[in-house]
């Protein structure tokens, strides 16, 4: 009953938060309490419907091959007809569940975290719109519908990262996020246009039917180019190298925003797009290779930066980039199941990590450097315990959630490519190291005497508790109930645990913990000495491999030069043509107006001469035809 209702009313899932956004921004800006409760109520309803959709998918046997489709014509003109509708398959259902759940938890958490902020209502309005855009993206039936919500997600990230708009750094970060992702969106839009030209449709199910035949008939070369263009969008949105630069700066927003961006809404949109268009990508081995290697490189690259960062949210940001690289790599390896599984577990523990970081920042009044924290386990025991769970989960210690999903990715890598498997394992080692480093430095050790931390309130701890619970069971339960039978592409994916891979990855994670303990367990002296010894490597990692500086340099030197050339062309060629046309008309006019003397007798004379001339012409031509005038 509920399942049936939810399935046919799945469009309510994005609509309810969107309505909450409208209601808050038009009527409730002055009523913070009501605004937050309305946002939470809307999100809870969406969550309830998402649960119903999930149940319907299971009970009605909706699979990836036979999705639930409901669409209506959005607009149509000759040669182009675009639908709008709802597409629910197990992948979308899983995403709906994760996004509504995490958004709900973040919203509840925010009532405590944002309490007393002057922009409280505005915050809840934007958060609702953010979740609504993401949910709309999930149920899109075609590329254009998805692109609209994709851009909405980008807009909301801009609004929320720049939430503290009176801070210059926040404004800059918001602009950076928006423009960096715009670069990716341009590629995506080009890819979508090419798809429309080539296939005459943007519908996911229709494309899935047409693409394999097209590849068989014409080869994969053209389509690989289009696939890579499409992939540029996810590179921007999901923070893949080289467009990852916006993600660490996005930390300028309030911490719940970071949690939402990193866990549920923004960055997984790219991964989800690739998964949704997997029918296209899976027949393009060239594009798949690029995705796998780029994902792998991003994973190891970001992890190596996270090793040396000092700000707690920055460490988590690079960790997110790294984990997104994992998901992309899994997609590139052809294992949609592993990627989506990791997306889900990552959403749980990364949201928890960010909410935990927010809890710490709240207690320490925004002191973000982990080396200034120290000994928080005594003053914040609940936060400490839940962060510990999240650290274990992200590092892949059994039986926490991350273990199962990471194991699937590593197993997929081990089957396909040894270099990728080794790189992924090294990333896993680094992940365990920097997460343990964060935990040891912030929670263990001697308390910093300048801090007077206090445990956060219930409204913050309860959502964290829910996420902590999911970080524990979010891996083993789906695994036990056959996640891979539902969320898959192609034949069902019965990934038993590859014990060799599993045990080695667990050992690697433990080794990472041990290494971190040996360096940071004894205080800061030893780590400083190692940093000294590592020299160049440390500098590179600490400065994020100078990618930002490279972009700055490119911007200053290359882009400005190019702009100067284009400016010259604009002034002298484009404007020259326009100005020339105007000047030519003016000159002709000033010459012609000499003919207009104002002397009435001149006009009369001209008229007379012209009439005579006309009469003569008529007389002679008529004479030539008819053989003589009549008179």
């Amino acid at each position: 009953m509920w399942a049936e209702f939810s399935l046919t009313h799945a469009w309510l899932i994005p609509l309810l938060p969107a309505l909450a956004f409208v209601a808050i921004s038009f009527f409730l800006l002055g009523a913070p309490w009501l605004a937050s409760r309305l946002a939470i109520a809307a999100m809870s309803s969406s969550f309830a419907i998402a649960l119903g959709v999930g149940w319907a998918v299971v009970s009605q046997g909706i699979t990836v091959e036979t999705p639930f489709l409901m669409k209506t014509v959005w607009f149509s003109m000759p040669g182009l007809s675009i639908d709008m509708g709802v597409l629910v398959d197990p992948i979308a259902a899983m995403m709906l569940f994760v996004v509504t759940l995490v958004s709900l938890m973040v919203l509840i958490y925010s009532t405590g975290y944002m309490a007393g902020d002057p922009g409280f209502s505005r915050f809840f309005a934007f958060m609702s719109l953010f979740a609504a855009s993401m949910l709309g993206l999930i149920i899109a039936t075609n590329f254009l519908q998805m692109f609209v919500f994709w851009e909405l997600v980008g807009l909301c990230s801009y609004l929320l990262i720049g939430y503290y708009f009176y801070k210059i750094s926040a404004r800059e970060a918001a602009k950076k996020a928006f423009m960096t992702t715009r670069i990716g969106d341009f590629g995506l839009l080009m890819g979508i246009l090419f798809l429309q030209i080539l296939f005459g449709t943007l519908d996911f199910t229709e494309l899935a039917a047409k693409v394999p035949a097209f590849v068989k008939a014409n080869g994969a070369a053209t389509l690989t180019g289009i696939g890579l263009l499409l992939f540029v969008g996810p590179i921007g949105k999901s923070g893949q190298f080289p467009l990852h630069v916006w993600l660490p700066d996005a930390m300028e927003g309030p911490t719940p925003v970071s949690a939402l961006i990193h866990a549920a809404t923004m960055v997984v949109a790219g991964v989800y797009l690739v998964a949704r268009a997997f029918a296209i990508f899976s027949v393009l081995p060239g594009a798949m290779t690029v995705i796998a290697w780029l994902g792998c490189f991003t994973a190891i690259f970001a992890a190596s930066i996270a090793l040396t960062q000092r700000e707690i949210k920055r460490i988590l940001a690079f960790s997110t980039i790294s984990q997104l690289g994992y998901m992309m790599m899994a997609l590139g390896l052809g294992s949609l199941t592993a990627s989506m599984f990791h997306l889900m577990t990552h959403a749980f523990f990364k949201a928890l990590l960010f909410l935990g970081a927010g809890s710490i920042l709240h207690a320490l009044h925004d002191k973000a450097d982990i080396f200034e924290m120290g000994g928080l386990r005594k003053s914040m025991p609940a936060t400490c315990a839940m962060m510990g769970i999240a650290v274990l989960a992200i590092s892949g210690i059994p039986p926490f959630a991350g273990f199962f999903s990471k194991d699937e990715i590593l197993a997929a890598a081990a089957h396909v490519s040894t270099p990728l498997y080794i790189a992924a394992s090294v990333t896993a080692l680094m992940t365990a190291f920097y997460m343990a480093r964060l935990f040891i430095v912030a929670f263990l050790g001697e308390p910093n005497p300048h801090n007077h931390p206090h445990e956060s309130g219930k409204s913050m701890l309860v959502p964290m508790g829910v996420l902590a619970f999911l970080s524990i069971v979010g891996g083993i339960v789906p695994y036990a109930f056959g996640f891979g039978d539902w969320v898959r592409f192609g034949p069902a994916h019965h990934a038993g645990i590859d014990w060799g891979v599993a045990s080695s990855s667990t050992l690697i994670a433990l080794a990472g913990f041990g290494l971190a303990w040996s360096v940071y367990g004894a205080g800061h002296k030893k780590s400083d000495a190692i940093a000294q010894k590592a020299g160049v490597l440390y500098t590179l990692s600490f400065n994020k491999f100078f990618v930002d500086e490279l972009y700055q340099w490119l911007n200053r030197n290359v882009l400005t030069g190019l702009a100067r050339i284009l400016y010259w062309v604009d002034i002298h060629v484009v404007d020259g043509i326009v100005d020339g046309a105007a000047r030519g008309t003016g000159t002709a006019g000033s010459m012609l107006r000499r003919l207009q003397t104002g002397q009435m007798q001149h006009y009369a004379a001209i008229m007379f001469v012209a009439t005579v001339a006309l009469a003569l012409i008529l007389a002679f031509t008529a004479g030539a035809v008819a053989g003589g005038g009549k008179l």
Partner: protein, 102 residues
């Protein structure tokens, strides 16, 4: 015997005189009078053609009457303009009346 061509010759002579006056006279009143001459030459032509080529219809004569009526109106306005210009500018010389340009 006086035929059609005689009337036409008179009309043409009258038209030529009117045109000469129109192009050469400096006085605005004289120019208006020249225009009247040209209109009357046209009337002669119309009546003559009507009389000699379409004897059963009176179209030419009716046209002439219309032209006389219109010419009367035109002269009334023309003289009023001439008077207004003279009052405003102190001249009725057409080569000085050249400000209706650009």
């Amino acid at each position: 015997m006086i035929g059609l061509s005689h009337y036409l010759l008179v009309g043409a002579a009258l038209f030529g005189l009117g045109m000469f006056g129109l192009l050469t006279k400096r006085n605005l009143i004289a120019v208006l009078m020249s225009v009247e001459l040209m209109l009357n030459s046209v009337n002669i032509n119309l009546v003559a053609f009507s009389r000699y080529t379409a004897t059963d219809a009176a179209a030419g004569q009716v046209f002439s009457l219309f032209i006389i009526a219109v010419a009367a109106a035109e002269v009334a306005i023309g003289l009023a303009l001439a008077y207004a210009i003279y009052k405003g500018r102190g001249t009725v010389s057409v080569d000085e009346i050249d400000w209706l340009k650009w």
